[in-house]
């Protein structure tokens, strides 16, 4: 079985983002970029499936600028076998990404597609589900455990208030949550080996996909800073205000 993993290049999770003064977006100049943490978990899960003998090939795909090759190489250093970059300098919306991934799925015919549940930049949490709809596949989002058998995969999902387990027909889409696994470190020899693994570069035009989006970002602002409220004189006054004014207890 082939496993396809989609990864995204995003601002490193340790970097404090800063809104540009012209409010056109977030300042990314000379800022450290990295693989989206949820995508790293997806890569790790796929590599573990290969190590268990469930998967025989792990293909990693990214859609983004040329430098997103770095993240594909990282995925290959972690154990993916080959990479595909769909190169575009346009920032694409989830729907366009899902359409492109659908085409990759058509070509590669994977048994499982594993994606991060969301990227830490746009925080959309859409791509995996959209791909599921477009490719007519079942989905197990927010996975914290997966068990693959002959024709199905059992996925434990982190839902509000607990865990839900579903059985999905293969081929299926999995999106990863934090507790699915702890990704390994890439070793130096594997980083060097990854430089020689095959990496195919395509463009959206190669797939004949229209990437125009119905969404337009008009403005990006810093969140409103909180301001100091009132000082209360006693516990009873505090309780009274929480009950009657803020209505939170």
């Amino acid at each position: 079985m082939k496993v396809l993993v989609a990864v995204k290049r995003v601002i490193d999770y340790n970097i404090k983002v800063r809104v540009k003064s012209d409010q056109s977006g977030v300042d990314l100049a000379n800022v450290k970029m990295a693989m989206n943490p949820f995508c790293e978990i997806a890569v790790e899960e796929a590599v573990r499936l290969k190590e268990k003998g469930v998967a025989d090939e792990v293909i990693v795909v990214s859609i983004g600028p040329k430098v997103a090759q770095e993240q594909i190489r990282t995925a290959m250093a972690l154990g993916a076998d080959r990479g595909i970059l769909v190169e575009t300098d346009e920032p694409l919306e989830s729907l366009a990404i899902a359409k492109l991934l659908t085409k990759v799925v058509e070509v590669e015919q994977p048994g499982l597609v594993i994606l991060g549940k969301q990227s830490i930049d746009a925080d959309n949490n859409q791509t995996g589900q959209m791909l599921g709809a477009l490719a007519g596949m079942s989905q197990g989002t927010f996975a914290s455990e997966i068990n693959v058998s002959e024709n199905s995969v059992e996925v434990t999902r982190e839902i509000d208030g607990g865990l839900q387990t579903l059985s999905l027909n293969l081929p299926a889409i999995i999106t990863t949550d934090l507790r699915l696994n702890e990704p390994r470190y890439a070793s130096l020899p594997n980083i060097m080996k990854a430089k020689r693994k095959p990496l195919d570069v395509k463009t959206p035009a190669d797939f004949g996909v229209n990437v125009i989006s119905g969404l337009k970002t008009l403005l990006v602002e810093s969140p409103q800073e909180r301001s100091a409220g009132v000082l209360v004189g006693s516990v009873s006054e505090l309780v009274e205000k929480l009950k009657n004014e803020a209505k939170v207890i």
Partner: protein
Amino acid sequence: MSILVIAEHDNGSLKDETLNTVTAAVQIGGNVDLLIAGENCNAVAEQAAKISGVNRVLVADHAVYAHQLAENISLLVSELAVDYSHVLAPATTNGKNFMPRVAATLDVSQISEITAVVSADTFKRPIYAGNAIATVQSTDKVKVITVRATGFDAAVCDGSATIESLDKATDAGLSSFVKEELAQSDRPGLTSAKVIISGGRGMGNSSNFSLLEQVADKLGAAVGASRAAVDAGYAPNDMQVGQTGKIVAPDLYIAVGISGAIQHLAGMKDSKVIVAINKDEEAPIFQVADFGLVDDLFDAVPELANSL
């Protein structure tokens, strides 16, 4: 304009997030219909009919919707959606699960987790974990939207909508339910709790955290800790709220003996209401607290537990 809101429920009762989502729909303007897809969910429909602002409650009652399987629900919703200008669902794990499938099926974008309605086609939503707020405009024929509950007040329940049952049931046949384990603990997890009480280095030692637990028990709250308290060994690392711990946004966050370093604020500043209890009136936590109490926590916290 007409808006379809998908209700969040567990077949037995309606979940609160639905009320906040209806408020968002009312702000967009137009007729609001509410869809309840589930199995044996009459009680939910009765409840939902009382939400003011709702015109009709549509009920799809069938075994295929019992467990909110995304493949099945999304087929139903996308079929209904063509008659609406907007489709809204709460940004719960359930709403997040099926709504993008609806959007993709309709060949439109989804606008995730809106926190404000600017106009019928323009919305605000947090990006970069809430460190930036984007204003986005949609030109799609149907606007598919998930709604962050904390961004909107709950709709009041003094209405009387009509209830209509839908005779629709499609099984995509792609997935099936195996089991569900809902957390049985009396105390909710930090990231899902509606109320959190956290202690800082001011707690003095780990056994004093039991003072917080007494309040937490009364409020059904989770107990958290600041990095300083964790480093001092007063609390385990999985209780840590902050930049290097968990990012939380409950309705009520009570910070006890926490000075309020920016590293802690980064993890809780999106809480709806923040209360600070600290004996140092210069503590930075008071700069972000809605309600501050300058007092010795060893007096104030037991008194708080007793008065709840």
